[in-house]
């Protein structure tokens, strides 16, 4: 179990994280939040890439700082920026990461082949990373994170820039990997979390707004999501005046969908609440 107690991170006068408390167990936990919500800061603290200002991060009741390199041996991490050596082949890159993870030579070579096959890049082991598409690079990074079978897998925006087919493929890989390990998936693409996450952390301005299962989150805002039909310009004007909501196109025309505590009367309540509504409900408040 990964426990976070009163975690604070300040950059000068700016407080990026304001006292986070969480308990993370096996399975996929999604972290949802807008840009600047503090998702990457939280992940960098969990991977011990940046120094915390206050608080603790405990793994199996031991502070990760005291565990040191032993903790990092259990962590697999894909950062937000797709950092890799473009002149390396996929196989070389994985072997290099394997060396960084302290793997034995034979085991590293074996796992390199297996993981590349698992992410569908078995034939591309000898190709240079510079020639890979965005989706292929992300899969290589996922395979690299999975080397040495980490107990904690941290994925920062793993599907950013991928086409729908690649996003689905990656989500399926992630879902398979989540058995018997803690997977933290940070993203602002709601559908990624909706499909795979067992629990969702909603973050806003450095705070955890909500931490519950997707179903519970959606139930919580029942009756607070509504739609109003109208002409595009009219709905646009209304949206600007409310400063929230999203205009959607239906077969019958345009609708303004709003997720708000105080839903205007002329908005018709809807039953098909999604995680996106939850995200908008909390992020626009």
């Amino acid at each position: 179990m990964l426990k976070i107690e009163n975690l604070v991170k300040k950059y000068g006068d700016f407080t990026a994280l304001k006292g986070i408390n969480l308990e993370l167990n096996e399975g996929v936990t999604g972290i949802l939040g807008a840009n600047g919500a503090g998702k990457s800061t939280l992940l960098n603290l969990i991977t011990d890439n940046i120094k915390r200002t206050e608080g603790k991060i405990l793994y199996n009741d031991k502070d990760i700082l005291s565990l040191g390199a032993g903790y990092r041996k259990k962590v697999g991490y894909t950062p937000q920026l797709q950092g890799m050596y473009e002149d390396f082949t996929a196989g070389q890159f994985l072997r290099y990461i394997g060396a960084l993870k302290g793997m034995k030579h034979r085991k590293c070579k074996q796992e390199t082949g297996e993981l590349l096959t698992m992410v569908g890049l078995g034939e591309y082991a000898s190709k240079k990373l510079g020639s890979f598409s965005g989706g292929m690079r992300q899969r290589v990074l996922l395979a690299a994170a999975m080397l040495d079978d980490p107990e904690i897998l941290i994925l920062d925006e793993p599907t950013a820039g991928l086409d729908p087919e690649e996003r689905i493929r990656l989500r399926n890989h992630i879902a398979e990997l989540a058995k018997n390990r803690i997977v933290l998936l940070a993203t602002h693409i709601v559908s990624d979390i909706e499909c795979v996450a067992e629990k969702v952390i909603v973050m806003k301005k450095g705070e955890v707004i909500k931490y519950a299962s997707p179903t519970d989150l959606m139930v919580e805002i029942e009756g607070k999501v509504g739609e109003r039909e109208g002409e595009f310009d009219e709905l646009n004007t209304l949206k600007d005046s409310l400063n929230k909501g999203q205009i959607m196109r239906r077969a019958s025309g345009y609708v303004l969908r709003l997720a708000d505590k105080n839903l205007p009367e002329d908005f018709e309540k809807v039953d098909d609440i999604t995680l996106e509504d939850v995200y908008l409900y909390y992020s626009e408040r």
Binding site: N44, A69, P79, T89, A99, H105
Partner: protein
């Protein structure tokens, strides 16, 4: 204009600035006023007075040869008759005396052209940045993104060639003017003995202008060729083909004789044109079907035609060709990749760091290039030390442990010589005062006195070494042997030029090799990934410092060894097992050790100063993410350090060149 601003951004200007520093640095090392650069004084006057005779003789011999039946037909005959005509046009040319050292040094140096060519390569590579950044399709989709862009780029190449050549060579000219002066530049070019055979009636100034224009044109042509080639083939094949062309042209220029039936390839050769010497050191005629055709005219026609062809080709390629890779390149890349995976080696972490530094970041190229340049320059340098014969005989006769008896014997001999000197001087006085004056006796006494003085002069340094060595023995109780000093004098004292070049190249190699050691991770956004792994932090704490130490220690040591090996080819290293205190200059060296140990000690000290340079570079690398910018910053730091050390009196020994170059001893 926009394209010009894009190409000539901060990075390009910094590179040019760096190349200027290298250019000036190399030139300063070569501009030693004490070096024998050309003939001066009496010898020069002799040459000048004999020039008209040389001209007449050449014309006469040429005419005589054309009179012989054997030489009345064919290439050789035409060369002779045409050369005669050329030289006849020079009758009346009056070369004048002056200080030619500056001009000769300037004209013999070809480093500037190499640097401008390297800069041109950078400009051409920058022009293809859009491919690397995936902007080709965006650029080509615009109205000005094809042929018009090509014309702008040709303009940039012309500006680069013209201004690059003028500025680089101009700075050299200013350097020689400052050191030696240029004297009257309106003198005929034949005033320089090196250009005795120049068949053109040019002044030195006219010659300089023509030379710079020719070099600029040739460099522009090379730039255009690089651009067209780069447009056709991808990166790896471009360098392979360019490398092949360079080697082929260099070999043709060096190996083909001026009168060979294929001398066409010697002169219609971009590198011969860039060097230009061959065209001004005699009459150049090309063998075209056994007829002698004016080499300069043909070269001009060929290169102007090449210019037009390359221009048209470039225009068509740029306008028409689609941005696709070559199949050949992809297949080769795939094959190499498959081989790499099949024989995949799992390195240790240190092995991976070595692979990243030396192979992927190109450190090995910097190291090999600098060591290669040093070897090549050392091979051209004549390691000649004029050993005084009599002095050497005295060293041999007094060889061995310095004892009181030996010193007394030496003192006695010197006293004997001094007594003899007195006697000869007295005798001379007597002879001068005797009437009649016996000139024969006088001359023989003078000869004996001169011989005596020579013997004293030859023996004086031996005696001083014996005295100093014995003084050390008395003070410390440790035995010292007399050491023949010539090799060590040359190595540690006289061969300043090689040591300074070695220091300069060591610094260049260290900076080039280590600039990216930390920056590479930041540049590739790998820092976070590495730091989050089990052993990732050990890389920065252990493995990289080990690499920094090994690289920056070994580079100056290897480069120093080049000098030692070259000196050893001509002069032995005697008495290596004897104490260093037996050697001139080192009589009061604080540590009692053999010469062998002393040189190992010097190499270690040099290596450690290399580590200092390497550490500075690594620290700068830690603070940046662009290797090129870090190289520039490190160079600026070293240059500032150098100037400060040179400016403050008494601190010259702290300059990085001196720290790495032995003179601090």
């Amino acid at each position: 204009m926009v394209e010009f601003r894009r190409i000539y951004g901060k990075k390009t200007l910094m590179l040019f600035f760096l190349l200027m520093i290298i250019n000036i640095g190399i030139f300063i090392f070569e501009a030693n006023p004490n070096k024998e650069i050309t003939i001066t004084g009496e010898l020069l006057n002799e040459y000048l007075s004999e020039y008209p005779e040389f001209l007449n003789k050449t014309i006469k011999q040429g005419k005589a040869r054309t009179g012989i039946k054997l030489f009345q037909q064919g290439f050789a005959s035409e060369v002779t008759s045409k050369s005669v005509e050329r030289y006849e046009a020079l009758i009346g040319t009056e070369p004048k005396a002056g200080d030619n050292r500056g001009m000769v040094l300037f004209l013999q140096s070809h480093v500037s052209e190499l640097l401008v060519l390297f800069f041109m390569l950078h400009i051409v590579t920058s022009m293809f940045d859009e491919r690397k950044k995936g902007l080709v399709n965006m650029v080509r989709a615009t109205s000005g993104g094809r042929a018009a862009l090509f014309l702008y780029r040709v303009g940039i190449l012309i500006i680069t060639a013209l201004f690059g050549t003028s500025i680089m060579m101009g700075s050299n000219l200013i350097g020689v003017a400052f050191t030696f002066g240029t004297d009257d530049l309106l003198r005929p070019i034949q005033s320089l003995p090196e250009y005795q055979k120049c068949p053109y009636g040019l002044s030195i100034l006219g010659f300089l202008i023509v030379l710079v224009m020719i070099k600029a044109l040739a460099i522009f042509l090379v730039g255009l060729l690089m651009y067209v080639l780069r447009g056709l083939v991808n990166g790896f094949f471009f360098y392979v083909i360019m490398g092949g062309l360079v080697i082929a042209e260099l070999l043709c220029g060096i190996l083909i004789s001026p009168v060979a039936s294929v001398n066409l390839f010697k002169y219609i050769n971009l590198f011969t044109v860039i060097k230009s010497e061959d065209f001004f050191n005699g009459c150049v005629y090309l063998n075209i079907f056994d007829s002698a055709v004016d080499g300069v005219k043909i070269s001009c026609i060929v290169f102007v035609s090449l210019l037009v062809i390359l221009g048209l080709l470039g225009f068509m390629i740029h306008g028409k060709r689609y941005a696709v890779g070559t199949k050949g390149g992809e297949r080769l890349g795939a094959l190499l990749g498959r081989l790499r995976e099949r024989f995949a080696i799992q390195h240790t972490l240190l092995g991976w760091e070595c692979y990243k530094l030396y192979i992927k970041q190109g450190a090995v190229i910097f190291i090999i290039a600098c060591i290669g340049i040093h070897i090549q320059q050392s091979a051209k340098y004549g390691y000649y030390y004029p050993v005084p014969a009599q002095e050497k005989l005295y060293y041999i006769s007094y060889k061995g442990e310095i004892t009181e008896a030996k010193v007394n014997k030496a003192e006695k001999w010197m006293n004997t010589l001094k007594d003899s000197q007195e006697n000869y001087e007295k005798r001379l006085e007597e002879i001068e005062n005797t009437i009649p004056f016996n000139s024969q006796r006088y001359q023989s006494t003078v000869a004996a006195l001169n011989n005596n003085m020579d013997l004293q002069k030859a023996f004086a340094p031996v005696l001083e070494d014996l005295r100093n060595g014995y003084k050390y023995t008395i003070e410390t109780g440790k035995s010292v042997s007399l050491v023949e000093p010539y090799t060590y004098d040359f190595l540690l004292n006289r061969d300043v030029q090689t040591r300074q070049r070695a220091a300069f190249l060591s610094i260049a190699a260290i900076i080039g090799a280590l600039a990216g050691i930390f920056a590479f991770e930041r540049h590739t956004n790998m820092e976070q990934t590495i730091n989050s792994t089990y052993r990732g932090r050990k890389i920065a704490l252990v493995y990289k410092p080990v690499l920094i130490f090994l690289t920056s220690f070994s580079i100056p040591v290897i480069i120093s060894l080049v000098q030692m090996i070259n000196i050893n080819k001509n002069m032995a290293f005697p008495d290596l097992d004897q104490a260093v205190q037996g050697m001139r200059y080192l009589n009061d060296f604080g540590i009692y050790m053999s010469l062998r140990s002393f040189f190992i000690f010097l190499l270690v000290i040099r290596g450690l100063f290399g580590v200092l340079i390497g550490t500075i570079t690594a620290v700068l690398s830690r603070l940046g993410d662009d290797k090129f910018v870090i190289i520039c910053r490190a160079t600026i730091v070293i240059v500032i350090w150098l100037f400060l050390a040179e400016l403050v009196p008494g601190l010259e020994f702290l300059s990085p060149i001196n720290l790495l170059g032995y003179t601090w001893v």
